[in-house]
Chain length 136, copies 3
């Protein structure tokens, strides 16, 4: 049994953002046991799991990724869409756009400290589209 829904996340500024509640709010009815896949329909942002407590983790993750793939590298050829564009593509492949999370007792079975992040790598990314697919 598979159900599916497509929705937009509220636009967010560049950075790592906790979106667990916004994702859950948009999900269809969850089975007792199953698997949720959330898929981001973009190539300059990503979805990941990380700490849901201290906001400093979000700031530091953003700093880490900004250093992993820096802007204005002299070897970039894809430069017409802004300094933040090509690094955003690189970061998107590093963090990934497809995330599967187990469902147990009708709820997402995240660890105590886990939350779902939208990683927004563009300066002005707009409302990002998500497809949620529920198997169970």
């Amino acid at each position: 049994m598979v159900s599916q829904v497509e929705f937009n996340l509220v636009p967010r500024k560049r950075g790592f953002h906790l979106v667990t509640d916004e994702i859950i709010m948009n999900l269809p009815h969850l089975p007792e046991v199953g698997l949720l896949n959330i898929f981001l329909k973009h190539t300059s942002a990503a979805l990941t799991i990380n700490e849901n407590a201290d906001p400093d983790v979000q700031t530091d993750l953003d700093a880490i990724f900004n250093r992993l793939v820096q802007e204005r590298e002299p070897y970039y050829e894809h430069t017409l869409e802004g300094d933040d564009d090509m690094p955003a593509h690189g970061k998107s492949t590093i963090a990934g756009v497809s995330l599967s999370i187990p469902i147990t007792n009708g709820r997402l079975n995240l660890g105590t400290w886990q939350g779902i992040y939208l990683c927004e790598f563009r300066n002005r990314g707009g409302g990002r589209k998500i497809i949620a697919t529920v198997i169970g």
Copy 2:
């Protein structure tokens, strides 16, 4: 209902390659709603989603990964299989070998700018094996 097929991709040179059409050509019949998992049976290449339009993105992604994990680092111990081998293992874990994509209306529901990439990290990787599992 699960169906599955195993196939080989055409060999490609080192770099990031758009393989959306070749993947789709090899898929079994897709359900109206579901989830596709594609799994690469190798440890020195990867699968990812990225931009399907400007070929410069592929060149730049290759350059980004070549700088993230460089060849001939003095601390490498696994060196017998060539300068490109250990970096390929590192890059494979960074980009990942397992990718899940939603199926909607009997087709892969990719974003407008999304394509499926084979990331070939070896100089001569040969034909890479893929397992496609369709749930729906």
Copy 3:
């Protein structure tokens, strides 16, 4: 048809560890054809696929990740839980905590050289919790 089980991995020291056998030992009955998702309920470790043969690959992967996200960067703000903590969060997002693997003929369909790794990024991470979800 979905089945699910939760279990703890034996605690391991910081580094990349082959855990294929320990994972398989804990799985429920596998269907003839299907998909396994393993999900790590933590934010400072990860699951990945990499080479199952030469132990030097594990040492070098650890070295690669220790250089990708280094300790004591002057820009870290999240520093109260130890020098290894914030880098562990960064590495966890790079390698990922959710891994899907195809099931064929009632067994995990890994490539000849593939094994499942626990990437332990903390100095003392303890026993890590895994949820295994089997679809088929």
